[in-house]
């Protein structure tokens, strides 16, 4: 009996060792037969791709976008960088010039580069652009069909390098459809898609590429994709900046945040897309080759996106701005920053993300206006702005984080933001009372005498940062006597947000270009014409369903001026002032993404000191990294 047991145990151990004791490079998560020194491994945050062999990005939601397809293989007319850019914020990619509109913005002319080739040797031309547009207009249900059908009256290609769009109505921002922020309308290969009966049902299994990489191999189960540098990379728009250094790119699903940390420490993941603040701190402490956007705190790359506590302004209780302001004055942003990002947050008091070039256009010039901004509570006037709030966060972190926390005021502002709204319970009480609310015992009641309850909808584990922020905000309101409860939406968040099924939701309704002053990217959709009736789905992004005649006027004026017109900044400031007065959502901070690059094999990743590209791996413009990084040794 004993001998049976011993043999059994020995068998198990031998089996385990046989499978486990192999050379490290074989036993770990690295691709076979690809030299590590020629390979850059990046996280694809989409995780495991269900429909792995599908590369038709023009079909709606049929496949992966950020498995390397949009970053390494596709291209379009223009790119805007959320920071400074490789050669300025604006890059003419397939286009050779900026878009040229006629005087009333009903026509847009595009000049294209010549000498750009698809990976199968066919030359790219205006015919591809025209075909892409017409294919989507003719085939309803494709990713950009509705957007194009809505705007384009006709598209012509009079010669190989010219495209002329005739628009159905004046639109000074039509080019935005072809300008990459995160993505844009990618140009499809005419010579492939013209042979297809139904483009909605064509998998494009062997994608031809227009950018510097072409598909090498992929996992049929959607865990990894490997792209190989084209031999003729000079014949792509990226070739203008030199040879992309990695011969191979692998976009992989490394699993949950803990595993991403392990994978980077095992040197199996060069660029992490995002991890938790705790994971970031671990890498900063234990893996000296890990580099984030900032050298020290707050580490993460501030995306041009503004997480906010968004009111459903169609609800009676939030129709009065006094109520919205009262709730704002009950929030301690320092506590929210600590709860959500463990302090590693870049706060914003205004409805513009404090990222890219926005501080230079909006946050800094508006400091005096913010400091002088007054609220009349009915009993007194208060100046709620505290311009030292970010400094206070930095100071509170210094004892535990030491010299990782900058002390230079400019550095503090760049990393943590500037000021925010002072918590003021007395003023909140006065504002609520003026709005007809009253406190009975320890409970606030609405003007109709029913308890003042607020459902704060958060996403849950899928977005822990926002969930923690929402919990802290609900706690602040509860402590004041408002019955605020956190409602975890999980997978239902998108549906509920669109349906207006929330009182307050932790989400974002403000996204901007980042590197460019224009705010139309989100603002145009805030026009009152697009606000849905209660209960009906709301088109993105005005989730607060807020409308205001002054806002409409601003939007309509912006539509009539050129994208680069400096007047856009003044109009943007007017929007900020209106949004502050009305407070349809409470701006919190930028969406800081803890993208971490490991410099064991590659160096020269973009950072706050050299912000030539967005390092966040799923952004289309992360492609500029490939031409700037260098192999180590």
């Amino acid at each position: 009996m004993k001998s049976t047991m011993v043999w059994l145990a020995a068998g198990v151990v031998a089996g385990a060792l046989h499978l486990g004791v192999t050379p490290p490079a074989q036993s770990q998560g690295l691709p076979r037969d690809i030299p590590r020194k020629e390979l850059l491994i990046l996280e694809n945050p989409e995780g495991t791709v269900k429909n792995a062999g599908w590369f038709n990005i023009w079909a709606i939601n049929a496949n992966s976008q950020s498995n390397g397809l949009q970053q390494a293989a596709l291209d379009t007319l223009w790119y805007i960088d959320p920071d400074k850019g490789i050669n300025g914020v604006w890059d003419n990619s397939l286009a050779s010039e900026k878009p040229a509109y006629n005087a009333n913005f009903t026509e847009m002319r595009v000049k294209l580069r010549r000498g750009i080739f698809w990976s199968d040797g066919v030359e790219f031309s205006s015919a591809d652009v025209k075909f892409t547009v017409e294919m989507m207009i003719k085939t309803p249900g494709m990713r950009w069909s509705a957007a194009l059908a809505n705007s384009v009256a006709s598209v012509d290609a009079p010669d190989a390098e010219t495209v002329i769009f005739k628009l159905k109505q004046p639109n000074s921002r039509f080019h935005a459809l072809f300008t990459v922020r995160w993505n844009a309308i990618w140009i499809a290969p005419k010579h492939v898609f013209e042979k297809v009966d139904d483009p909605n049902k064509f998998a494009f299994e062997k994608p031809v590429s227009l950018s510097a990489y072409v598909l090498h191999s992929h996992d049929p189960d959607g865990k990894w994709y490997i792209w190989q540098r084209r031999e003729d990379w000079q014949r792509t728009s990226l070739g203008r900046f030199g040879q992309p250094a990695p011969r191979y790119l692998a976009y992989v699903d490394p699993g949950p945040p803990d595993k991403r940390v392990i994978a980077q420490m095992n040197k199996e993941l060069d660029v992490v897309h995002d991890i938790s603040p705790e994971g970031m701190f671990t890498l900063a402490r234990q893996n000296p080759t890990s580099k984030a956007w900032f050298k020290g705190f707050p580490f993460g790359h501030p995306d041009p996106t503004l997480p906010a506590a968004i009111f459903n302004t169609q609800l009676d209780m939030f129709k009065n701005r006094d109520v919205r302001w009262a709730l704002t004055l009950l929030i301690d942003i320092k506590a929210v920053a600590m709860a959500s990002y463990r302090g590693a947050a870049t706060i914003s008091p205004i409805h513009v993300p404090p990222t890219g070039r926005h501080p230079e256009f909006y946050h800094e010039p508006m400091q005096d206006w913010l400091a002088g901004f007054e609220i009349d509570t009915g009993k007194r006037k208060i100046k709620p702005y505290d311009r030292t709030m970010a400094k206070q966060i930095a100071d509170s972190l210094r004892p535990s984080m030491g010299n990782q926390i900058p002390s230079d005021p400019a550095e503090v502002a760049r990393a943590f933001g500037t000021g925010w709204w002072k918590p003021d319970q007395a003023a909140a009480t006065e504002l609520l009372e003026r709005a007809g609310f009253r406190k009975q015992g320890n409970q606030w009641l609405k003007p109709d005498g029913t308890p003042f309850t607020i459902r704060v909808v958060v996403e849950g584990d899928a977005r822990p940062i926002m969930t923690r922020a929402g919990s802290m905000i609900a706690q602040s309101w509860r402590q004041f006597g408002i019955d605020a409860r956190v409602d975890v939406a999980q997978g239902t968040l998108l549906t509920r947000r669109a349906a207006g099924d929330f009182d307050v939701i932790l989400s974002w309704s403000v996204e901007t270009w980042g590197g460019h002053q224009d705010l139309s990217f989100f603002m145009d959709s805030w026009h009152s014409a697009f606000v849905a009736e209660p209960g009906k789905p709301q088109p993105s992004r005005n989730w607060q369903r807020w409308s205001h005649p002054e806002l409409d006027k601003l939007i309509e004026t912006i539509r009539t001026i050129d994208f680069d017109d400096p007047k856009g900044i003044d109009l943007g400031k007017e929007f900020v002032k209106l949004a502050i007065r009305e407070m349809p959502s409470i701006p919190l901070m930028s969406y800081n993404v803890f993208t971490v690059a490991d410099e064991t094999y590659w160096t020269g990743f973009p950072t706050a000191d050299d912000p030539y590209a967005n390092p966040v791996t799923n952004w289309g413009n992360s492609r500029y990294m490939f031409v700037k990084i260098k192999p180590k040794n």
């Binding site: 486990g20 192999t22 309803p140 959607g222």
Partner: protein
């Protein structure tokens, strides 16, 4: 024989009824989801780019048509059954237009392979050692194993899995921590691929076996402990029958019958997938597919996976019902 045929028909009708009720319940529940697949698709598609709001409304309309979500609820229900009867669950809404059956077909071998092996292995080791421990009650090695298995059994699976991951994936990194096979290795019937799959499945398999062992072990030990006091066992011992024969022919054979039922049900559950294992170890499989489907409101996909799962469990129970009279002579078809 005629009695057995009647028994078969009875059981088969019961099986059909269970499947019918199960699939209908799954249909009702999935269609009651608060997630609208159209809204989800629109939100994903417009999440990053610049899309004019009026275009979004047009997008909604064309998607409803494209996904075939038009028609009355009754028409949709009839269409569903028409498709199910030919094993076609229609296109996945979150991976349109790929058929749900293709997605399930791709994920199932991984799940069935891992969970099937883990279930059988856990069952064999747990029952063998449980049986031995019940019979050789003074054996120290078996006692030690009992303590080990009992200590692991109540541990939350997630913790055990993470511990294995940290120990063998980071502290002593001898096993891969993610994926079903090595990157850039073509899938196929090759020794290389088989070895790679085996290597990648060690940690997920070990986690499932370690945590699952205790249940079978304790169950079998209790069954055997009861049987050893039965008269026929005592009589066999007094008659000088060898201990090995008593254990295998008199005790284990009798004790194993209820365990076989448990095994069959466990094998049926294999088709439900092992979500936590798949998530922690980045292992491909049907569990992640199901959760992705739920989150995207993709009721075609969710229905496909749940129907396969209902069929798996029902078939397992049906087969066991048919085999029981043959395995255990005490059970008669009457």
């Amino acid at each position: 024989m005629r009695v057995y045929a009647r028994y078969f028909v009875n059981r088969f009708l019961q099986f059909l009824l269970v499947v019918f009720i199960g699939v209908n319940l799954a249909y009702l529940i999935t269609h009651a989801t608060p997630i609208d697949p159209i809204e989800h698709t629109v939100s994903v598609a417009t999440a990053f780019g610049h899309t004019a709001p009026e275009a979004v409304a047009a997008m909604r309309e064309s998607l409803r048509e494209l996904y075939g979500l038009t028609g009355t609820p009754f028409e949709q229900y009839v269409n569903f059954w028409r498709r199910v009867l030919v094993a076609d669950f229609g296109p996945s809404l979150s991976a349109f237009p790929t058929p749900v059956s293709t997605l399930i077909g791709r994920a199932t071998p991984w799940t069935v392979g891992l969970l099937g092996v883990a279930t059988v292995l856990t069952w064999c080791i747990g029952n063998l050692l449980g049986g031995l421990a019940g019979y050789y009650r003074r054996n120290r090695l078996l006692k030690a194993f009992g303590i080990f298995a009992m200590a692991l059994h109540p541990m939350p699976y997630y913790i055990a899995a993470i511990l294995l991951l940290i120990v063998f994936g980071f502290v002593w990194p001898i096993f891969p921590i993610t994926g079903g096979s090595q990157m850039n290795l073509a899938q196929g019937w090759t020794v290389d691929f088989a070895l790679s799959v085996a290597r990648h499945s060690v940690l997920p398999l070990l986690s499932l076996v370690l945590v699952g062992l205790g249940g079978w072990f304790v169950g079998m030990r209790s069954l055997v402990s009861n049987i050893v006091t039965e008269d026929y066992v005592v009589y066999a011992e007094l008659a000088g029958v060898s201990r090995r024969r008593i254990l295998t022919s008199y005790i284990m054979r009798n004790a194993v019958a209820p365990q076989v039922t448990g095994l069959a049900i466990s094998l049926g559950h294999v088709f439900s997938g092992a979500l936590i294992t798949e998530r922690v170890f980045g292992y491909p499989g049907i569990g992640s597919l199901l959760v992705d489907g739920v989150n995207a409101g993709d009721y075609s996909l969710v229905l496909g996976v749940t129907t396969v799962s209902i069929l798996g469990v029902s078939i397992a129970v049906f087969v066991i019902d048919l085999l029981y009279p043959l395995i255990d002579p005490r059970v008669t078809v009457s």
